[in-house]
Symmetry: C2
Subunit: 326 residues, 2 copies
Amino acid sequence: MQKIRLGIVGYGNLGRGVQYAVSQNADMEVVAVFTRRDPSAVKTVLPVRVESVDKMKEYTGKIDVMILCGGSATDLPVQSAQIVKLFNTVDSFDTHAKIPAYYEALDAAAKSGGHVGAMSIGWDPGLFSLARIYFGAALADGSTYTFWGKGVSQGHSDAIRRVAGVKDARQYTVPVKSALERVRRGENPQLTTREKHTRECYVVAEEGADLARIEKEIKEMPDYFADYDTTVHFISEEELKKNHSGIPHGGFVLRSGKSAAENKFLMEFSLKLDSNPEVTSSVLVAYARAVYRLHKEGKTGAVTVFDIAPKYLSPLSEAEQRASLL
Amino acid sequence: MQKIRLGIVGYGNLGRGVQYAVSQNADMEVVAVFTRRDPSAVKTVLPVRVESVDKMKEYTGKIDVMILCGGSATDLPVQSAQIVKLFNTVDSFDTHAKIPAYYEALDAAAKSGGHVGAMSIGWDPGLFSLARIYFGAALADGSTYTFWGKGVSQGHSDAIRRVAGVKDARQYTVPVKSALERVRRGENPQLTTREKHTRECYVVAEEGADLARIEKEIKEMPDYFADYDTTVHFISEEELKKNHSGIPHGGFVLRSGKSAAENKFLMEFSLKLDSNPEVTSSVLVAYARAVYRLHKEGKTGAVTVFDIAPKYLSPLSEAEQRASLL
């Protein structure tokens, strides 16, 4: 069997995760990793060719799908529309407010190149989006809730690190259990930002820094912390390394509603992940399979998880799917 | 806006549920209910025309999708391939072992009639099947578990009613909590039938019946009870009516696995339903929307939940879906 030939663009946590995930799928292989760094300086977790991004063009016809592992802030908005002209792509673009514009740009570029570009793939957006659309369609009269955590938020950890006197930090987003329980009981509550999540910060301060001032600055930071009940724990660098070096995450999508006959329903999807980027990667790889198949069928343009029938994701044949999974 | 015009074939719990569910979806309407009984004897939960099944042909061009609400044992295997020649259809066929043969027959008939026939729609098969295929694709190295309940099994209740001396009965399928917890802890246990579910039976015996014999016959009944830890409670007819007249159900699909870097993941989907047929109906109605749209795009043949992209289910436009649900 001819394997699906993948490229990985960008080699951070996500790129490493993709390489690991591909090793668990017998129908795929990674042909090359592309980096903006000096290729010889990139140490991969499994053996693979590493190339400069400038060499990407030479791989036309040798790679079926490029998995874009850059960040949503600066990498993907520039890269995806360029790369999709040459290759099918999958990315994890997750800046919610910019999704419509990103879609339009990717769609136009993908169509002009005759490729498929799958965007916003991962667990949120991604699997959680699927739960939201399926639950909403299956229960027309209801309310949908998304809770995140307990898990590390990279963005919030970075925000703390920018406070003067902070050496390092780790921030956990924590869903409020009582709010989750109210949803599960079918109360259909209106929940404020503060009622849904709390924020727990583990902070390593520099020698002699003013801890009270740091704590105040964190707690009052607009957008990031001001709207939440935030707890700040000052800990040593050793403790941070020992107890907070993982990147766990998870969350819940719930829909609570009722039938026209007033019978109550609850649907709940939850994830618990020891490694946030490795699950995102694993989903990216499954959607690379779908993109490969869609492109073979003649499809072009941008697609999201909403546009892709589940059959395209599974390594099983359609008959096997019906016999064993339906 | 032209509404999607639906027909309901068969008017039991499922048919009533479909009528209720359509009343919650502004883009659809029920044109007529078709029954094998005397139409004048059918009392509907909301006002609607009731016709004899013999009149179905007269509705060609007046109904976009027929929702087949008959049973899987005898109704659907006969009806679906006939009706799909005249109309698009949605059904809840759930005899797992016969799905491949049913698919082939429906597919051939649907293609010959130029229609779409969506089969095995509901929550299991249906939403649970979706969880199994998505979870399996997203976590290549893991084990998937399905638990049902706590909920009423109509088939098992019927089986008890066939025991001599039994006047009425209700059977609950109950997932074993400790087994569920082992899966959630990531133990990836091998679970026997007995370890996953217990069966609780509430039985109304006839005057003077031999209760010990009834209990023994139930517990030793092959296929239905012999492989389970079964509890039999004898209760009065009044108690059965008062405490066991609902048709609640629910269940869990879990996938536990690990990345190639040995990080653990858990995905869980659960449902809690006060009315089993009303949720099945609600899902049937969402898929009727999808079938209508697929047929408009020129699609023909049999389809399952695996073949249908989620975008077809939602009443929102694709741009709205991306902006609000992704």
